[in-house]
Amino acid sequence: MSSNAVSLYLDPQIRDWVLFPITLVMILVGILRHYVVVLLQSPPKEQTRAAIREQRAISRSQILRATAGHSPIPPTFYTSISQHLSSAFEAGTYLKDGPPKANTPSTPPNPITDPAAMDGMMAGMKTQMVMMVPQMVIMGWINFFFQGFVLIKLPFPLTLGFKSMLQRGIETPDMDVRWVSSLSWYFLNFFGLNGLYRLLLGNDNSADSSRDMTASPFAAPGGGAAANPVQDYPKLFKAETDNLAFAEGLHTWVGADVESRVLRKYRKLAPAY
């Protein structure tokens, strides 16, 4: 912290005509983006009955397996369900397109050829575009008009390590780190405005662009219809049959020894331990 007088005087006009406009433009663009994304969102695609059935077939066996250790149902019922499921998985009864032909080699589905998957990808790309374009325009605008501007002095001291973060675009080796350049101010806003958007637009807004930077365009944002990417169901079913076989070995019925438990609870039988 230098004790001598302020080394740099900033014109108040910079504050009024550069600092505030950049901040305001970024906030407004974020809000605009939110509404554009809302408009662009296509309604979730309706699935056919067979597709739903295929998608949920795995959960049937998962539900069955989840309680296998303390199963609510007696062994005969359990094994009949379990064996029915595994034989159905093996035969491919639950597949959307019916059981596979014997001689066609099974190939994992190609996401490019599946129109349903393409739709999901397109939706991802669209939102990605909506966030990339305005950010590029703003950055170009700042770079063109305000390159090398010093906008603001932070009210607290910082170490030299922050220099590259706060003074991007100004190549001075000995300026105090507390001065923030225009481009750095843009980046600070870019990453820091999410809290404000959350306040203005609610929790699940799509205004924040920094979050989308990390997301790949192929994963659809915010769940939705394409949340589960294309899956190779025949392979999944095959793995599930093994799991079912394991779980069948683990199966114990809650009713197996229930009489002793009840008798102990009412102290008609000496405790086991």
Partner: protein, 291 residues
Amino acid sequence: MSLQEALHKLASFRTNNTRDSQETFEKGLIVLRSAGPKTLGEEGWAFLEQLMLASVDVGRLDIADQCLKQLNDKFPVSPRVDVLRGILMEATQSSSTVLAYYDELLRINPSNAAIWKRRISVLRRLGKVEKAVEDLNEYLDTFYTDVEGWLELADIHSSCNQYTHALQALSHALLLTPQNPFTFLQFAETAYSSGDIPLALKMFLVVIDMNEGEDEDAIPMGISVRAWWGTKLCTRQLVVSSASHTSHSHTPVAKNIKLIDELATERVLTAYSGEQGIQARNLVSNWMSGR
């Protein structure tokens, strides 16, 4: 009754899934007359749906029609409104018209679960039980996690004395809600009806075992009275001749059957020890001693 109070009550009915149609209808009418749903904001539409179902229940179809119209104006393509229209049609028009309407909706969107279920219920009411069961099986094959559907299937099978099928349906319901003692109780009673006494006994005991709040000092209440009665009915038969009872599910007869029988007798009698139960107690103990 003030408007605020009525609104509050209706909202709590919605969250608790209470079907108190007469009261809902009366309170809803107050709201409808004094405010109108448009002033209620987003919540108003849920209220309209609630009022409409209640007014179909109490037979005020004019109000139901009014609600449906407003909902339809707001959400012209909503599948939820389609279901409501179907319900109103069930109340006013012939079953064949309703079935045709549901068929048409299902043709447009075959995966509309709510419509599918309504259609099954209409089929059952018409007495086309076979078709209903067939449809319900197909429905549950797609939407496996619908406990309501499995219970309905079990109910249909039980009503046709097909207890084995009912038990299979109930076992799926049990897998989906292993925390619900009432499903266990239903399973036990169905097993008892099917003649599988050892299985029924085990399941009754599971219900008792699940009821953690109760111990030897407590008086059995609610579900456990029924479960103890069931246990007693089973042990009464098993004590006499445990070997002669065959179990379709190959369930072994419980060990210590004598002890369980004694315990069940004691618990059932305890259940009748309260002030109201005291008159019935003699009757029960007579039944207990007479074999």
